[in-house]
Amino acid sequence: MRVLGIETSCDETGIALYDTERGLLADALYSQIAVHSEYGGVVPELASRDHVRKTLPLIQQVLDDAGITRSELDAVAYTAGPGLIGALMVGAGVGRAMAYALGIPAIGVHHMEGHLLAPMLEDNPPDFPFVALLVSGGHTQLVQVEGIGRYELLGESLDDAAGEAFDKAAKMMDLDYPGGPHIARLAERGTLGRFTFPRPMTDRPGLDFSFSGLKTYTLNTVAEHALDNGLPDDQTCADIALAFQEAVVGTLVIKCRRALKQTGYKRLVIAGGVSANKSLREQLEAQLAKIGASVFYARKEFCTDNGAMIAYAGAQRLLAGQTADLAIQVTPRWPMDQLTPAGTDAHD
């Protein structure tokens, strides 16, 4: 079965073609980072405008790259939520209508289920069950995963998502948007130990997160060392970036270990934009090796939003017999534990 995947939930237009027999056939991505960076964050109206321009040309490109025609598609999968409503509507509208015109089934996919299953596209995919750390600009969640659609939320951020904290810390030091990669690059030049930032909520039991206190601590440190232009000198910025990243990564590692201990599982999947962070990957691998657990993650370009994960997740749902009806539905706020296990009645 050849499934076209369409992802338009935020600021990337991602299109891919996944074959359940042959694997990933093609994928393409258009990132709107340049559009939004001068605003310091995603402007929803501009995001929607870009998606409606880019979606079809990228679909054409993916079909051309894979060397197949539109009539050889077997199904269309699109992100139905969570995300920006106007952005979701573009991908869902194009995808559902195209499937109708082609006379093939369509399926609305949960964006975070896409992220969670993205490591399945790699050569060494994890077996069920596992614990998943979903960590992005919009989410910080620990989820117990027993199978597709069988998710139990173990803990989540009570305020900012980890990726959001990265963005805001970057903004405090006037770094470019999105903040994650810029903080990480700057941190490489930082002096370990010059600053030590608090690891929020690690001294308390439970698997919830909080990053707003760390954000305030960062803001105060930046202000304390600010020069006339309002910013600390470049080395101090690097030291702050390192201390900030260490605090976020340290917190995530502690909670992941705790989640594995609580569930008794030996596999951890990390997914979402922040899972591309090198320090997070290295520290998790080192710490989890000590308890005999292993870490799984997607290649870097599939950590951030992409069409491949939507095509893959959609294919699993379709194989289980689920399809979307003709009423196009998007769900901007959609808790993951509301998903149904594959093989039972679908969301749509």
């Binding site: 501009l46 405008r49 409606v52 979606t55 009539s71 509208g93 015109a101 810029h182 196009i328």
Partner: protein
């Protein structure tokens, strides 16, 4: 959004044909509500791409003018359409109407209500919700229909008239007219990346 495809399906079923048997897709490309335009555009892009057929984009203001012509068969002359664009602005355009034949006169405008364009006042007839916003002192033509919305059958009439060339589905895009909404940009201190 939820009703669009079921309605498409119902119309096709009533006509007893499938989507792949259509020759062309016409849609209202705006101006109008941004989200509404994108719903229609996204769905028509998907339908036309799936069916491998071209698209005819039709102006929403022309569609209103065509609807006016349909319900005023006796009218012949110039028509000024004005639609509420929110933010104290209107979308406006002038047309000549001769029987069922509607032709655009000049460009479509996005203007502030308090700078009501003189060109719109010189028409023989007026229509559209935007006229409710006209400042007092603006003279209204005696032939007037405020309460009028774009109708799909008028989109079809305009598409079949042949004034607009069919385009590829990938080129089917909304016409917003309002392209420079002033979102606040961030202020930067750094001149180079760190």
């Amino acid at each position: 959004m939820q009703r669009l495809l079921p309605m498409v399906h119902e119309v096709l079923a009533e006509a007893g044909i499938g989507a792949s048997e259509l020759d062309c897709f016409a849609f209202g490309r705006g101006p109008g509500s941004f989200t509404g335009l994108r719903v229609a555009t996204g769905v028509v892009q998907g339908l036309a791409f799936g069916a491998d057929r071209p698209v005819i984009p039709v102006s929403s203001l022309a569609t209103i003018a065509q609807g006016f012509a349909r319900s005023h068969a006796e009218f012949s002359g110039t028509l000024a359409v004005a639609v509420d664009a929110r933010m104290d602005e209107i979308y406006g355009a002038r047309f000549s109407v001769d029987g069922n034949r509607v032709t655009a006169l000049g460009d479509e405008l996005l203007v502030a209500v308090d700078q009501w364009p003189a060109a719109l006042c010189e028409a023989d007839a007026i229509c559209g919700s935007g006229w409710q916003l006209a400042p007092s002192g603006i003279e209204r033509a005696s032939v007037c229909q405020i309460d009028i919305e774009p109708d799909a059958q008028d989109v079809l009439t305009l598409a079949l008239q042949g004034d607009v060339m069919p385009i590829c589905a990938t080129q089917a895009l909304p016409v917003y007219l309002r392209d420079s909404v002033s979102w606040q940009k961030r202020t930067r201190v750094r001149t180079t990346s760190l």
